[in-house]
C-alpha cells in the first residue's frame, strides 16, 4: 500500500507548522485577508457559504483503514459528523473553523495526509482509476507513474506558477475509468504486439466553462521518456499559455487555438531541444515507488466460491447487489466491492463518521486494509474474497451503505451546489435526491441499464455534467434556479461532450424530464443497446421531441 516517503512527511509537517503560524498571525491581524487567502487556499481551506471548508487530497483515491478512521475522527471532532467525497478523489468538510484548522492538519499529518496543493495554479493531485492494481482488465498499475509525476511536479519551481491550474489523469487499463480525455494531460497505457508497454499522451481536454476532448500527441511513448516529454509539454504551455484571460489560460485553449498539429510540432521541437537526461534516476525512482503500490499478498483461491453462489440463490437482494456492485478482480477468487454512497434520496458522496468507521473496519478485516475513493463519489474495497462478500453486504446494510445501484440511474454524481458552495448558481443535491426518489425502483433501474447522470451547480462543472450520459447544469435566471439538460456526454474510451437539448427547466420539472428521456430510450433501443449507444445512433431528435413537443 502507498506510503509517503520520509521526505514528504517532513515537508508536510513543516507546512502544517507554517500554517499554524500563519493562521495565528491572521487571527491577530498581522496578516490581511489578501495576504492570508492564498496561504489558506494552498492548504485546502476555502471560505464557503456557511463556514470554512477544508478539502483534503486522497492521493490515487487510496486510503488505509487507519486513514479512513482518522477522516471519521475529524468529521466527529471538528465538523458536524460527516464528510463529502468529491469527484476529484478528495474529501471535503463543510463546517470547519479557522482556529481548528492547524490541529486538523496535524491530525492528518499523523496519518500521512494533507490538504496541500489542491488549489492554485499548479499541477493538482494526479488522479487514476479507482480500481488501480485490482481490475481484471488492467495492463499495469498506473499509480507508480502517477506518483512519479506528482513528485516531479509538486516541487518543481517552474510549474508552481502556471497560467492556470493543471490536472493530470492516468489509467493503466484499456477501459478508461480515469477520464483521461477530459484532463489537461491524460495518459493511457497500451501494450503492442511485441508485448511492450507504452503511454498514449493526450493533451488539452477539460470540462468547466469550455469543455473539450483532449487531442493525442503521442500514441506510444516509452515509459522512460515520460517525464522529459511532459516537461516539454509544460514548457510549451508556460511559454504560450494565455495569462491575460483566466478563462483562456487553460492548456485546452492553447491546444485548440494552435491546432493539434501545430501544438504537437511545438512540443516535439521543444522535446528535441532538451533531450532526456534524467531518465535513469526516474526509472530507479519509479521502481522504488512501485514497491509502495505492490499488490498485497493475495491467497490462491479456487474460482468457485460456493458460499457466495449459495447466498445469491438464497437472497435475491444480495444477488442484485452482487450483480451491480461487484467488479472483476485480476486475482481468481477475489472481487472488487463498490460501496454506493447514493442511498435512495441521499446526498451523493456524503458519509457519516460512523459509516466511515464501518467501511474502515470492513477494509481492515476483508480488503487488505485498503479502501479507494472513486470520482463517482463512491467507496471501493479493492481486494475482497468472493466468499466474504455476503458478510460484507450484511454489515453494509446495517449502516445504509448497501444501495445496489452502482453504475445505474440512482448512482448520481452531484457537486455540493448552492447548498454549500460559494460559487454555485443553483442547487444540485435536491435535484439529485428528487431523481433518485423518482427512480427508486431498482427493477426499473436495472431495466434501464448502465447510466451516468451528472449534476453541477455552476459552470465550473465539478459534477462533470459535460460527460454525463445525462448532464444537468444548474444556472441562475434572474434570481431563479433553472437547469439545462445535456445528453450524450461520456468520459469513457470514446469520450464526448454532451449536447444541450433545448431550453432549461425549473428544478421541480427536472425529474419528469429525465423520465421522459429514459422512456424514449427504452422505447427506441435495440436489444442490449445501452443508453449512450442508443443516443449516438438516434441523435437528439426523438429526445427533443419527447421533451419539448407541444404538451
Amino acid at each position: 500500500m502507498y506510503r509517503y516517503d520520509e521526505f514528504d512527511l517532513s515537508f508536510v509537517k513543516q507546512r502544517t507548522e507554517q500554517f499554524r503560524d500563519q493562521a495565528e498571525r491572521r487571527l491577530k491581524g498581522e496578516l490581511t485577508e489578501d495576504e492570508f487567502r492564498p496561504l489558506r487556499l494552498m492548504n485546502g481551506l476555502y471560505l464557503q457559504l456557511h463556514a470554512y471548508m477544508l478539502r483534503i487530497a486522497i492521493p490515487y483515491g487510496t486510503l488505509s483503514s487507519k486513514q479512513m478512521r482518522r477522516l471519521a475522527y475529524i468529521a466527529d471532532k471538528w465538523d458536524r459528523g460527516y464528510g463529502h467525497f468529491t469527484t476529484r478523489q478528495n474529501i471535503q468538510y463543510n463546517w470547519i473553523k479557522l482556529e481548528d484548522t492547524a490541529d486538523i492538519l496535524d491530525a492528518l499529518a499523523e496519518v500521512e495526509m494533507h490538504g496541500i496543493q489542491t488549489s492554485g495554479n499548479c499541477i493538482r493531485n494526479v488522479t487514476t482509476d479507482h480500481w488501480a492494481g485490482a481490475a481484471a482488465d488492467e495492463i499495469a498499475d498506473p499509480r507508480p507513474v502517477g506518483e512519479l509525476l506528482r513528485q516531479w511536479s509538486s516541487l518543481h519551481p517552474e510549474f508552481s506558477f502556471l497560467p492556470r491550474k493543471f490536472k493530470i489523469a492516468v489509467t493503466g487499463a484499456p477501459n478508461d475509468r480515469a477520464a483521461v480525455k477530459v484532463h489537461d494531460i491524460g495518459l493511457r497505457l497500451h501494450k503492442n504486439d511485441k508485448g511492450e508497454i507504452g503511454w498514449e499522451v493526450l493533451v488539452g481536454g477539460g470540462q468547466g466553462r469550455t469543455p473539450m476532448i483532449a487531442v493525442m500527441v503521442r500514441d506510444f511513448l516509452p515509459e522512460k521518456e515520460l517525464v522529459p516529454y511532459l516537461e516539454a509539454i509544460m514548457r510549451v504551455y508556460n511559454l504560450y499559455g494565455r495569462r491575460d484571460n483566466k478563462y483562456k489560460a487553460r492548456i485546452k485553449i492553447l491546444v485548440h487555438e494552435l491546432g493539434a498539429e501545430k501544438f504537437r510540432s511545438e512540443v516535439e521541437a521543444e522535446y528535441a531541444r532538451h533531450p532526456a537526461q534524467t531518465t535513469e534516476v526516474d526509472q530507479k525512482e519509479l521502481a522504488r515507488i512501485a514497491e509502495y503500490f505492490a499488490l498485497p499478498q493475495l491467497e490462491k483461491l479456487s474460482r468457485f466460491a460456493p458460499h457466495f453462489e449459495q447466498s445469491k440463490l438464497d437472497n435475491k437482494e444480495f444477488a442484485r447487489w452482487a450483480r451491480n456492485n461487484l467488479a472483476a478482480h485480476s486475482t481468481q477468487g477475489y472481487t472488487i466491492v463498490n460501496i454506493s454512497l447514493k442511498p435512495e434520496g441521499g446526498i451523493p458522496g456524503d458519509a457519516t463518521g460512523e459509516q466511515m468507521r464501518v467501511m474502515a473496519d470492513l477494509a481492515e478485516r476483508y480488503s487488505q486494509d485498503e479502501l479507494r475513493v472513486s470520482h463517482a463519489q463512491n467507496i471501493v474495497l479493492p481486494h475482497v474474497k468472493l466468499e466474504d462478500a455476503f458478510t460484507i453486504w450484511q454489515e453494509l446494510r446495517k449502516h445504509d451503505l448497501a444501495a445496489a445501484n452502482y453504475g445505474l440511474a440512482g448512482d448520481i454524481i452531484a457537486c455540493p451546489g448552492l447548498d454549500y458552495c460559494a460559487l454555485a448558481t443553483a442547487r444540485s443535491i435536491p435535484i439529485s435526491q428528487a431523481i433518485s426518489r423518482k427512480f427508486a425502483d431498482l427493477d426499473k433501474q436495472e431495466k434501464i441499464g448502465p447510466l451516468k447522470i451528472n449534476i453541477s451547480g455552476c459552470i465550473n462543472a465539478c459534477g462533470h455534467h459535460h460527460v454525463g450520459h445525462i448532464g444537468i447544469l444548474g444556472l441562475d435566471k434572474k434570481g431563479e434556479e433553472f437547469y439545462q439538460i445535456t445528453l450524450g456526454g461520456s468520459s469513457g474510451d470514446s469520450a464526448s461532450i454532451g449536447t444541450i437539448l433545448g431550453p432549461g427547466f425549473a428544478g421541480e420539472e427536472v425529474p419528469d424530464a429525465i423520465e421522459k428521456i429514459l422512456d424514449t430510450y427504452v422505447k427506441l433501443r435495440q436489444p442490449g443497446e445501452e443508453f449512450l449507444a442508443a443516443y449516438r445512433r438516434l441523435g437528439p431528435a426523438p429526445f427533443k421531441e419527447a421533451l419539448y413537443a407541444a404538451a
Partner: protein, 112 residues
C-alpha cells in the same frame, strides 16, 4: 396589507470560525438575519461599508459585502436564494446550520 421596504444588508463571515453574520443597527455582527439593519439611504449604506471595513481590519469578520433585501412586517427577506440559504443553512440538511440553532431567518430559502 403587509408593509415592504427595500434596501441592503451587510453580511460577512466571522473570521475565526466562518459563521455567517449580519451587521446590526448597533454596529455589531449578529447570527440572525432578522437582527440586521436594512440600509435604505446612500449614507446608511456608506456607514455599513465603513463599519465592515473597520471590523475586517480588526479581524472580527472577513469577506464582507452587501446584498439586496426587503423588510416585510419587520422581518428581513433576502432577495436572492443564495442569501436566504446563508441565512438558514443547507436546504438538504435541516438539522444543520442556523435553522437548527435557533438563529434562522423568518423566510424559507425556497419559496412557493
Amino acid at each position: 396589507m403587509s408593509e415592504i421596504e427595500k434596501g441592503q444588508v451587510m453580511t460577512a463571515n466571522r473570521l475565526r470560525d466562518g459563521e455567517v453574520v449580519f451587521l446590526t443597527r448597533a454596529g455589531v455582527w449578529a447570527m440572525a438575519i432578522d437582527e440586521a439593519v436594512l440600509a435604505q439611504e446612500p449614507q446608511a449604506v456608506a456607514a455599513l461599508e465603513a463599519r465592515a471595513k473597520e471590523d475586517e481590519k480588526a479581524t472580527l469578520v472577513t469577506g464582507s459585502y452587501l446584498f439586496d433585501a426587503e423588510r416585510v412586517n419587520g422581518k428581513i427577506r433576502a432577495s436572492h436564494i443564495r442569501e436566504r440559504i446563508r441565512a438558514q443553512g443547507p436546504t438538504v440538511r435541516l438539522d444543520l446550520g442556523k435553522q437548527a440553532e435557533g438563529t434562522a431567518g423568518s423566510f424559507a430559502a425556497v419559496e412557493g
